[in-house]
C-alpha cells in the first residue's frame, strides 16, 4: 500500500493542464495510492464473470483475453443499441466545459483527465473510431483513436476514479451524466475481467451470504445480539430484534456496513432502539440475514449484476410474507431502489402500498416499489408526535449534514433528514450553498472506491467535501458530520481525520436514538458511543 502524502503536500494542486501536449499524447502512470487492486479470480468465478484470473494493474501484463478488443467493441455496440442514454451521451457533448471543475476528483487532483468531459472523451474517442464516419476518416482530427491496450488501461484507470455521483450531470446543459457513462464503461471493462478487488469481492460475498462483507447468518445474529447488550448497558432495556421471522408486517433492509464497523454500528443501534420504541405502538418488523444488504456493489459492475443482487430483496419479502419493505440509511442503495429496483425485479404485486402502522400515513410515493426510506418513516413519526425526544442529549454536538450524492441527485431526499436532525438536536448548521443539497459533493469514495489501497485518491476526491466541513467547523465549531449513507459512515471518518481532525461522523438515526426517551429506561449517562452525555461528564456509571 502506498504511503499517503501529508495534507499540506496533497493540497498543492495545479488545475492547469499541459499547454502544448494534447490529451491523446499523454499516458497516465497507473499509480499506487490512486488505483485500486485488480479483481481476484475466485470472486469473478463465483458469480460467473468473464476472464477470471489474478492480475494487478501495476503490472505490465493485465492478462487480457486473446480477443479483448473485439469483445469490447461488440459490447460497445450492444450497449449503444440497448441504452439511448449511452448513444446520446456519446454524440451530443459540445465540450462547453461546464462540468470540468464540478468533479471532486478533478478539484482534488488537478488531473485533467478527471474532468468529467475528458473522462467521457476517453470513451468517446474509441466510439468515434469504431462507430462514426468522421472518426474513421479523420482519426485524431475528429477526436478518434484506436482502442489500444494503452487506451484501455487509461480508460480503466479513470473509470475507476469516478464515483458516479452525478454532480457533473446537474450542470450539463444536455444532462449528460458521467455516472451513466462510467456505468457503461465499467460494464465494458468487466467483459474482459477488469474489475477492482474492492468491488468484485463484495459482489461475490453478497451473492453468497447476502451481504457485501460476507457476514454469515449466525454472525449477523451475533452482531445484533452484541448491540442488544450494548444498548442494555446504556439504557437498561433489552431491545431484542427479530430475524428472518415469517409473517412480520415489515421487512427491514440496511447496508451491512451498519452492523460491521463504527460509526455505522451506532446507526444500527439507533434503528434497533427506534424499532423497540415503536413495538408497543404496533410496529411488527423483522430483519433478514438473507437480504442483509441494502447496498449493491453489483451496480458498480453491471446492470445485470445489480439486478442479480437486488433480486434478494423482493424474494425475501415474498418468502417472509411481509406487507412492505423499510430501507435503512444508504446512498447508492437508494438510487438503485428508486430508479432501478421495480424495473429490475418488479412488479412486487405480492406486497402492499406501505402504510405506517404507527401514524397511518400512506407512503404514496412508494406505491409500486413498496419500499420506504427510514428517514421518511421517522420524519413522519416526528411530524405526528409519536416520538418522545430530548434533543438536549445531543447538545454536545454541533451538527452539519452531508447530502449523499445518490439520495440527492438520484432521488431528491433533501428535507426529510434535515427535519429529523432539527428535531433531535439543537445545534444544526448548513455548509455553504454550492456544496449541499443537489449540489452536494461526494465523499470521494463512492461507487466501490472505498478501498484502502487508493487512500490518496480518496483524500483528494473528498477534499471539496472536507473543505466545506472545515468551513463550518471554523465558523460554527461544528464537530459532527451527519449523513444518511453507510459508505459515508465508513469513509468520512478517514476523510475528516485527514483534513478536519476534530469532526466526527454520524448517521442520523444514531442521533435519533440518543434523543429518544424510553419509558422505564435508566438514567442515561452516555450516548451510544459510550461518551458522556452533556452534563453527565462526572457520572461514574459507565
Amino acid at each position: 500500500m502506498a504511503d499517503t502524502p501529508k495534507p499540506d503536500e496533497l493540497a498543492k494542486i495545479d488545475h492547469t493542464p499541459l499547454v502544448f501536449r494534447g490529451w491523446m499524447d499523454t499516458q497516465p502512470e497507473i499509480r499506487p495510492g490512486i488505483a485500486c487492486y485488480g479483481s481476484k479470480s475466485k470472486d469473478l468465478k463465483y458469480v460467473d464473470m468473464p476472464n477470471p484470473r489474478d492480475w494487478s494493474p501495476f503490472d505490465d501484463d493485465w492478462k487480457l483475453p486473446e480477443n479483448w478488443q473485439e469483445t469490447i467493441h461488440e459490447g460497445f455496440k450492444d450497449r449503444l443499441d440497448r441504452f439511448r442514454s449511452f448513444k446520446l451521451f456519446m454524440d451530443i457533448c459540445v465540450r462547453c466545459g461546464a462540468c470540468a471543475d464540478k468533479c471532486h476528483f478533478f478539484i482534488g487532483s488537478g488531473d485533467p483527465k478527471n474532468m468529467p468531459v475528458m473522462r467521457a472523451e476517453l470513451l468517446r474517442s474509441v466510439y468515434r473510431k469504431k462507430f462514426t464516419v468522421g472518426g474513421k476518416l479523420l482519426g485524431r482530427l475528429a477526436g478518434a483513436r484506436e482502442l489500444t491496450e494503452d487506451a484501455l488501461k487509461e480508460l480503466w484507470y479513470y473509470l475507476y476514479q469516478c464515483t458516479e455521483c452525478r454532480r457533473c450531470s446537474l450542470f450539463c446543459p444536455y444532462g449528460i451524466d458521467m455516472a451513466e457513462i462510467t456505468i457503461m464503461g465499467r460494464e465494458l471493462t468487466n467483459l474482459v475481467g477488469l474489475n477492482i478487488d474492492w468491488i468484485a469481492a463484495p459482489v461475490a460475498n453478497c451473492y453468497r451470504t447476502g451481504n457485501h462483507l460476507g457476514i454469515q447468518p449466525h454472525a449477523y445474529k451475533d452482531m445484533l445480539d452484541f448491540f442488544t447488550d450494548e444498548i442494555e448497558d446504556i439504557t437498561g432495556l433489552r431491545m431484542e430484534q427479530d430475524l428472518n421471522r415469517k409473517g412480520a408486517e415489515i421487512l427491514f433492509i440496511t447496508p451491512s456496513g451498519d452492523v460491521f464497523a463504527d460509526p455505522g454500528t451506532f446507526t444500527c443501534m439507533g434503528y434497533m432502539m427506534l424499532f423497540h420504541y415503536l413495538k408497543d405502538l404496533g410496529l411488527d418488523i423483522t430483519w433478514s440475514t438473507y437480504a442483509s444488504e441494502g447496498g449493491n456493489f453489483g451496480y458498480f459492475t453491471s446492470h445485470e449484476m445489480a439486478k442479480r443482487l437486488n433480486a434478494k430483496m423482493y424474494a425475501e419479502a415474498k418468502r417472509l410474507g411481509v406487507k412492505w419493505i423499510l430501507g435503512g440509511e444508504c446512498g447508492h442503495m437508494w438510487r438503485v431502489l428508486n430508479q432501478y429496483m421495480d424495473t429490475f425485479n418488479g412488479p412486487a404485486d405480492f406486497l402492499e402500498e406501505p402504510v405506517s402502522p404507527i401514524t397511518g400515513t400512506r407512503f404514496e410515493n412508494a406505491k409500486t416499489t413498496k419500499m420506504t426510506h427510514i428517514i421518511e418513516f421517522t420524519a413522519d413519526l416526528i411530524k405526528n408526535n409519536k416520538l418522545k425526544l430530548d434533543p438536549s442529549r445531543n447538545d454536545n454536538l454541533k451538527v452539519t449534514f452531508h447530502d449523499s450524492c445518490n439520495p440527492a441527485r438520484g432521488m431528491g431526499i433533501l428535507e426529510e433528514p434535515r427535519y429529523v436532525i432539527k428535531n433531535v438536536c439543537n445545534n444544526f448548521y448548513e455548509m455553504p450553498p454550492g456544496t449541499i443539497r443537489e449540489q452536494t459533493f461526494c465523499c470521494g469514495s463512492g461507487a466501490g472506491l472505498n478501498a484502502g489501497e487508493n487512500m490518496e485518491s480518496r483524500m483528494r476526491g473528498g477534499l471539496p467535501r472536507a473543505n466545506a466541513v472545515k468551513f463550518v467547523h471554523e465558523k460554527h465549531d461544528v464537530n459532527m458530520l451527519a449523513c444518511i449513507c453507510a459508505i459515508d459512515r465508513a469513509v468520512l471518518p478517514n476523510l475528516m481525520e485527514y483534513w478536519v481532525p476534530d469532526v466526527e461522523v454520524t448517521g442520523v438515526h444514531e442521533m435519533v436514538a440518543n434523543a429518544l426517551v424510553f419509558e422505564g429506561e435508566k438514567k442515561r449517562t452516555t450516548d451510544l458511543r459510550g461518551e458522556p452525555l452533556p452534563g453527565m461528564e462526572d457520572e461514574e456509571d459507565v
Partner: protein, 362 residues
C-alpha cells in the same frame, strides 16, 4: 495533437471553404453549382441526416428511468417539493424541458472553481460564473432572430413577424460608424450579439486552460464556420452591398423549387450561401446535433416517479440469482445453532456433527 494544430486545422478548413465559392463563382462563374446544386444538396443532407440521426437515437430504448433530480422529491404534503427540478409527472417534465431548451437552466447553475492554497491550507470557493450561460444564450437567441429575419428574403410578401423583428432588432437606429447617416442600414442588435458571443466562445476555449485542453477541431471548426457566416453576412449588409432583389429572386426560386440564377449578385453572397450550406450539411454529423439530442436526454425528460409508477425495460431478461434455498442449504446448521428460523429442519437432530452429509442428500 494540441490546441494549435486544432485551431490551424479548423482555420485552414474554413479558409478553404471560403475560397471554393470565391474561385468557383468569381473565376469560373459556376453560379448554378453554388447557387442551386450545393444549397439543395446541403438541405437534403441536413433534413435527411437529422431524421436519420434522431430515428437512430430513438431506436435505442430507455431501459431505466434515470432523471437527475435537482430538488426535493414529492413525499409528504407538509414537505415542499420542487415540481420542476424533481418532476413528479409530465407537467413538471414539460416545464423543466422548456426551461432547459429555452433558457439553458442547467448551464445557469454554472460556477467557477477558485482554488487557493495559502499556508498549506486549501480553501475552495465556487465563484459566480454566468458568462458561459450568457454567451450561449445570446448566441443561440441571436442566431434564431437572424434566421427569422432572413425570411424577408424567402417570402413575398414579407410576413409581418419579420417586420416586427426588424424593428425590434434595429431599434438602436445606429448606422455603422463612421458612416452614420450615409445610407448604411441601421445595425441589428442580433448581429452584434451573435458575433460577440461567438468570439467570446472562441476566446474562452483559448484562454481557459481546461477548455484549451478539451477542445477538438470539431469545436473550433463550427465556431469558425459560424463566425465566417456572420461576417460575410455583415459585410454584405453594411459594406459590400449586393443586389438584394436578385438575391431574393434566387432565394424564392430555391424555396419554390423553380430555381433561377439571376445575374449580378456579388461573389460575397455565394460565399455566404456556401458557408451556410456547409454548416447545415455538417450539422447531422457533428456535435451540433445537441439541439435535437437535448429533447431526448433521459436525465432531463423523465419524471422521478419510479417508486410509484412502474417503468418497464423492453429488453429485460431473467438473470441467475442465489436463491434463499441455496443460501439456507449452505448455512442451515449454523442458523439452527443460533436459533434462526429455517425452512427445512435437519433430520437427525441429536447428532449435529454428522448433519452436513445428511443435508446434502435432501
Amino acid at each position: 495533437m494540441n490546441f494549435i494544430i486544432s485551431i490551424l486545422f479548423s482555420g485552414f478548413a474554413v479558409s478553404t471553404l471560403i475560397l471554393i465559392p470565391w474561385v468557383g463563382v468569381g473565376a469560373f462563374d459556376l453560379r448554378v453549382l453554388f447557387g442551386v446544386i450545393v444549397p439543395y444538396a446541403a438541405m437534403a443532407t441536413f433534413f435527411i441526416g437529422i431524421i436519420v440521426r434522431v430515428i437512430d437515437w430513438g431506436k435505442s430504448p430507455v431501459p431505466f428511468r434515470i432523471p437527475t433530480t435537482a430538488g426535493q422529491e414529492w413525499s409528504f404534503p407538509w414537505i415542499k417539493s420542487n415540481p420542476i427540478d424533481n418532476p413528479r409527472g409530465t407537467g413538471g417534465v414539460i416545464v423543466r424541458m422548456i426551461l432547459e431548451v429555452l433558457l439553458f437552466r442547467s448551464l445557469f447553475r454554472n460556477t467557477r472553481l477558485e482554488y487557493r492554497n495559502a499556508d498549506s491550507s486549501p480553501r475552495i470557493d465556487y465563484e459566480w460564473e454566468k458568462w458561459l450561460w450568457l454567451a450561449a444564450l445570446a448566441f443561440h437567441w441571436a442566431f434564431l432572430v437572424i434566421f427569422l429575419r432572413h425570411f424577408r428574403f424567402f417570402m413575398e410578401p414579407i410576413p409581418s413577424f419579420v417586420h416586427l423583428l426588424d424593428n425590434l432588432d434595429g431599434f438602436l437606429q445606429l448606422g455603422v460608424l463612421p458612416f452614420n447617416g450615409l445610407g448604411v442600414p441601421c445595425v441589428y442588435i442580433s448581429d452584434l450579439l451573435m458575433l460577440a458571443a461567438v468570439t467570446y466562445l472562441f476566446f474562452r476555449r483559448l484562454y481557459i486552460p481546461q477548455m484549451r485542453y478539451i477542445s477538438l477541431p470539431a469545436d473550433y471548426f463550427p465556431l469558425f464556420l459560424i463566425l465566417a457566416l456572420g461576417l460575410t453576412g455583415v459585410l454584405m449588409r453594411y459594406f459590400l452591398r449586393v443586389d438584394i432583389t436578385a438575391v431574393k429572386e434566387l432565394a424564392i426560386g430555391l424555396f419554390k423549387f423553380s430555381p433561377t440564377v439571376p445575374e449580378g449578385i456579388g461573389v460575397i453572397f455565394y460565399i455566404h450561401l456556401f458557408i451556410l450550406s456547409v454548416l447545415i450539411a455538417y450539422f447531422p454529423f457533428s456535435k451540433l446535433m445537441h439541439f435535437a439530442g437535448v429533447f431526448l436526454s433521459p436525465t432531463r425528460n423523465l419524471s422521478n416517479n419510479n417508486r410509484f409508477v412502474r417503468h418497464v425495460n423492453p429488453w429485460d431478461y431473467p438473470v441467475q440469482t442465489h436463491t434463499y434455498d441455496e443460501y439456507e442449504d449452505e448455512f442451515r446448521e449454523r442458523m439452527i445453532e443460533v436459533g434462526l428460523p429455517v425452512e427445512k429442519e435437519i433430520e437427525p437432530k441429536e447428532e449435529p456433527k454428522e448433519e452436513p452429509k445428511e443435508e446434502e442428500k435432501e
